[in-house]
């Protein structure tokens, strides 16, 4: 059958697994779509193999990136982060947090996911030693967010469950001692979003801070300040 190459795809047309794997490898996916694909990579060995295959296919393109020497200070920064992060807190807090966490289905699911051994060399990384966690809840029935943050990689994972349909997008804010919300960007409406926290916001992530979620107009870049009241909040705990 002839395919009309000029005809656009219908909006919302779902890609097949092979296409989805390529889209994940190329980095075309965002938000929910990316989170869903990453989860699929962990749970579906056939899909994980497609991802490996696509990584192999595009592999030669890496030759085309130009070599550029980074500043010598970059190595010093790396070295200082190899042993432990900026956090060292007590086992007591860990135990308290674990007891509280067990009741949360969303968080339990998040932990279960983290325990799955990655099926391929490009699987999302999940292990961690010292992490910050938070559970966010609010007035919306059924809305739960489980957040974990690894200070060594500056990666934050947010697992969202029970987000109702709205025209606005969920945006995550960190509120430090000064009480000023600073945006960590918009996250997926459901499932796991993964992000690298900007360096100037990392120092705010400590046991004195709160995370807030507000619903904001869609934006590729973080807003300067929230335009609405938070729909969910939660204290950060260091474990």
């Amino acid at each position: 059958m002839m395919v009309d190459e000029t005809e656009p795809l219908k909006d919302g047309e779902a890609p097949n697994n092979e296409t989805l794997a390529a889209e994940l490898v190329l980095g075309l996916l965002d938000g929910d779509e990316k989170a869903t694909a990453l989860r699929k990579q962990l749970s579906d060995p056939a899909f994980a193999k497609s991802v490996d295959d696509w990584n192999r296919r595009v592999d030669p393109l890496f030759q085309e990136f130009q070599d550029v020497e980074p500043a010598p200070s970059v190595w010093d920064g790396i070295e200082s982060r190899l042993d432990g992060g900026t956090f060292d807190d007590t086992v007591v807090q860990l135990k308290r947090w674990r007891m509280g966490a067990i009741t949360s289905g969303a968080l339990a699911a998040c932990l279960a996911l983290a325990l799955i051994v990655g099926p391929g060399p490009f699987a999302p990384t999940s292990e961690s030693q010292s992490v910050a966690v938070a559970q966010l809840t609010g007035n919306i029935e059924g809305l739960v967010l489980a957040v974990s943050y690894d200070p060594q990689t500056a990666e934050m994972r947010v697992d969202v469950d029970g987000m109702p349909k709205t025209e606005t997008e969920p945006e995550l804010w960190i509120v430090g001692r000064d009480g000023v919300p600073r945006s960590l960007g918009q996250i997926g409406r459901n499932g796991i979003s993964q992000m690298t926290v900007p360096s100037d916001h990392r120092k705010l992530i400590n046991a004195a801070a709160t995370l807030q979620l507000s619903m904001e107009p869609p934006s590729e870049i973080p807003h300067a300040k929230p335009t609405s009241e938070p729909v969910a909040t939660g204290k950060i705990t260091i474990i």
Partner: protein, 189 residues
């Protein structure tokens, strides 16, 4: 062929260093950094288009490499691809999380020319490059350009559509039809 032997040896050396780093060997990790940081920094810089943000991303990438070295499987990926993929994904995550407010460059759709190859590039020279390039060349120009731009600049579908001032569905069509042709072509050898 002598070059192949040299390539294999360099690859085996890098794989061995990653193995040693997985066992906690700091010196091996520093050797990995010295051998690969210019390549990985080039990857971050291309995607983030900002030196400070790229240096932050590079730090994040190497911390991830150190902590995940035990997961590297030389049977499944070449060492430099494994390292560069971590750097590329880290840079893309940083760009999307708003850690860097990047304006996409106006020449996003131009063909990416390569200058001379570094020692590391020669290390990675492989038969796969010929077939990939042959198959990319067989695509329609707009399919090829949109796939290459996505790879080299780390754009999402939405960013590409915005950049090209083209409806999202049309951009998806170009990419998906291009990817399908690319796969068919490469699978045929």
């Amino acid at each position: 062929m002598p070059q192949t032997t040299e390539t294999d040896r360099a690859r085996a050396q890098l794989s061995a260093l990653i193995g040693q780093a997985a066992g906690g060997d700091r010196q091996a990790f520093q050797d990995i950094y010295n051998l690969t940081s210019a390549k990985l920094f080039g990857v971050c810089l291309r995607i983030l288009n900002d030196r400070q943000a790229s240096e932050d991303a590079l730090q994040d990438a190497y911390v991830k490499i150190w902590r995940n070295a035990g997961r590297f499987d030389p049977q499944r990926a070449s060492p430099i691809t494994w390292l560069a993929t971590i750097a590329r994904n880290t840079a893309i995550d940083r760009k999307r999380s708003g850690g860097n407010r990047v304006m996409v460059s106006d020449d996003a759709i131009k063909d990416m020319a390569t200058d001379e190859q570094s020692a590391l590039d020669r290390l990675e020279k492989q038969e796969g490059a010929d077939i990939l390039n042959k198959c990319l060349d067989s695509l329609e120009a707009r399919q090829r350009n949109v796939i290459r731009t996505a790879f080299f600049e780390g754009h999402s579908y939405n960013e590409l559509a915005q950049k090209l001032d083209t409806p999202l569905g049309t951009v998806k069509s170009w990419v998906r039809r291009g990817l399908k042709r690319l796969k068919d072509c490469m699978d045929d050898g």
